[in-house]
């Protein structure tokens, strides 16, 4: 197990951790659909050629093959881009993997818009929603290289299907070393009393930067919470932070609908309704550009999070009072 102290891509952590799993466990097999260099599963393929199956550009076939392998006692890791893993092969995952409750790990790289130049056809911003809505599926989105390494190793311990989302660009260090565990999947990285910033994946380090800016520019103490397990979301941990701050912003490289925002709002709406603003993709597709330019274009930045936080903070004193236009008005 080798942690990284400099920026690294979460997909690289997946590739390295998968080799470690292969060394430790005979029953680990891997499949890819002609993207193994990009997803990094090629490292496993080089180390264990007999246990690696490149199916070519045939993602539906790959997922159903993973079902067959798992039903016969193997632990398959099926990787490709997030768009093809979830969009093209949805029905295959649904019937063959999730419905059967088989221990297949769907390891999707290039999630979100930060893959950049390939544009809308490749920028998957609905995958978390698709996998969240699927019964029996766990959804894991690690924040950096070190957490992605842990998420990959831990996935072996689970007998259930999992969806793991990795990204293309190198991501700044959030965890100094490979953490011991993902814990509840809701991890307070920085404590604060004024507002909660729930972030996932590539937005976590940006949320930490946003918290710095809020402190230095506005004197606001923001709590930064990394949600690495979006489903099932650990509601107690979410509520604990909301109870402390009474207002929140969510941040994700994904559609707001169906993603982290919905997951957090769902918990809050039922048990502790407070204003929760969202940073994420609206009702639109991605575009070509460098990864950073795309993030900038859609406001998926530290500044974007901080700006939303300032708006949410304006609402906090208003909604903490009785309704303005309630039955007692006039």
């Amino acid at each position: 197990m080798a942690g990284k102290s400099e920026p690294g891509a979460t997909r690289n952590a997946f590739g390295a951790a998968l080799v470690e799993l292969g060394e430790e466990h005979e029953d680990v097999v891997a499949l890819d659909a002609d993207l193994s260099v990009s997803t990094q599963s090629a490292k496993f393929g080089a180390a264990f050629p007999d246990r690696f199956f490149n199916v070519g550009a045939a993602e539906a076939n790959m997922m159903s093959m993973a079902c067959g392998l798992a039903a016969t006692g193997k632990r398959p890791y099926a990787s490709t881009f997030a768009i093809f893993a979830t969009g093209r092969a949805y029905d295959q995952i649904r019937l063959g993997i999730a419905h059967n409750e088989l221990p297949v790990k769907i390891c999707a790289s290039h999630g979100g818009v930060s893959l950049g130049e390939d544009g809308a056809s490749h920028q998957m911003i609905e995958d978390i929603a698709l996998m969240r809505v699927m019964p029996n599926m766990t959804v894991v989105v690690p924040a950096d290289y070190n957490q992605a390494y842990r998420a990959t190793l831990d996935s072996y311990e689970s007998d259930e299907p999992q969806y793991l989302r990795f990204g293309r660009p190198a991501t700044p260090v959030v965890y100094e070393d490979v953490p011991e565990t993902l814990g509840t999947g809701v991890d307070v990285l920085r404590e604060g009393k004024d507002i909660s910033l729930f972030a996932t994946g590539h937005m976590v380090w940006r949320a930490l930067e946003a918290a710095e800016a809020l402190e230095s520019e506005d004197g606001v103490e923001a709590e930064v919470v990394n949600v690495s397990i979006i489903k099932p979301i650990h509601s107690e941990s979410v509520l604990e932070s909301l109870a402390k701050t009474g207002v929140a912003v969510t941040a994700e490289e994904h559609r707001i609908v169906g993603g982290l925002a919905d997951a957090v709002r769902h918990v809050a709406a039922e048990q502790h309704p407070v204003p929760i603003f969202a940073v994420g993709m609206g009702d639109e597709f991605g575009i070509s550009g460098t990864g950073e330019a795309c993030m900038e274009h859609f406001g998926l930045t530290a500044r974007g999070i901080a700006d939303r936080a300032r708006e949410a903070l304006l609402l906090k004193p208003i909604v903490s009072h009785p309704p303005l236009f309630g039955p007692d008005w006039n």
């Binding site: 007999d50 070519g56 045939a58 076939n61 159903s64 093959m65 067959g68 392998l69 295959q92 019937l95």
Partner: protein, 308 residues
């Protein structure tokens, strides 16, 4: 080219008594097919839901597999060296349930619960609810890919020369593009223990396959993909058994395209459009049962006559 390996014994090695009984004869397999058909009609008449004609067209294939060709052990359904049966055409679940119940995977009474709330026999096969079901199916086109995955796993376990996978497919499976992804992969990975059996009955939900989406010469298609591919009469028991046993001796994946009639064995349904997914009315069920019971009596008498 063919017959590169001997055909393994169809019984688990530990079951001495079963070995003494020996292999079922062609006439016995034909009779079991009638028994399974009767079970299907009864199941559907009670369930008032399901795909009867699709089950009947595959009855002879399923009888040959479960009563002679498959190496399986109902007392130990998870025996790792067993052959795998995958009903790619999951909507024909009743015919698989009939065979599984016959072999004691679950009590016969369970057949009465088909498609009923809380009962183990789901509308389409469910591996977590029904003993003997290898993988859940019901979404056309996925089954052959699952067979490929199972075959690769068995190869890693060193069982490719003993454990064989038999997938029973439909016309609809051949219309799904994924089937041809799987057909490509099976050859690419050099699988020798997969047999795809196509129950080519030419009828689908909206009409004949020729009207809806003509899949043409399926045998030639599999051959073009690099499979050993033959076409037989899917109701000729001798041809079915020979083709199945031959298929497990080959050094390539094998396709057996079976020309069949939907609703086979029930005259008013046989080869006729309009029964897909429609359960028989009580009157139709009685008519079908009368016809099948008469055939069963003939087949039983003939077998008794032959043994005396």
């Amino acid at each position: 080219m063919s017959h590169l390996r001997s055909v393994p014994d169809s019984r688990p090695p530990s079951k001495e008594e079963a070995r003494r009984v020996g292999k079922a004869s062609i006439a016995e397999l034909e009779r079991w097919a009638t028994v399974h058909r009767l079970a299907c009609v009864r199941m559907l008449a009670v369930a008032k839901s399901g795909h009867l004609d699709s089950s009947l067209s595959a009855a002879d294939i399923v009888s040959a597999l479960y009563n002679r060709v498959l190496r399986h052990d109902p007392e130990d359904p998870s025996w790792h060296e067993r052959d795998r049966f995958v009903l790619c055409k999951g909507h024909a679940a009743p015919i698989q349930y009939a065979a599984l119940a016959h072999h004691g995977y679950f009590p016969n009474e369970d057949l009465q619960g088909l498609r009923k709330i809380g009962a183990p026999l789901q509308g389409h096969p469910d591996m977590n609810k029904t003993a003997g079901v290898e993988v859940s199916t019901g979404s056309l086109g996925q089954g052959l890919s699952m067979c490929v995955g199972i075959a690769l796993a068995l190869r890693l376990d060193g069982l490719e020369n003993t454990a064989h996978i038999f997938g029973v497919m439909s016309d609809g499976d051949c219309q799904e593009g994924q089937t041809w992804e799987a057909a490509t992969a099976a050859v690419h990975f050099g699988l020798t223990n997969v047999t795809a059996i196509v129950d080519y009955n030419h009828l689908q939900t909206d009409g004949t396959t020729e009207q809806v989406m003509d899949i043409g010469d399926v045998r030639a298609k599999f051959e073009a993909f690099g499979w050993d591919s033959i076409e037989i009469d899917g109701h000729d028991m001798e041809a079915i058994v020979e083709a199945l046993e031959r298929s497990r001796t080959l050094d390539r994946p094998a396709a057996i395209v079976c020309q069949t009639k939907k609703g086979r064995g029930v005259s008013f349904m046989e080869g006729r459009f309009g029964f897909h997914g429609k359960p028989p009315s009580p009157e139709q069920a009685i008519e079908a049962l009368n016809e099948l019971e008469a055939r069963l009596e003939e087949q039983t008498k003939a077998l008794q006559g032959a043994s005396t």
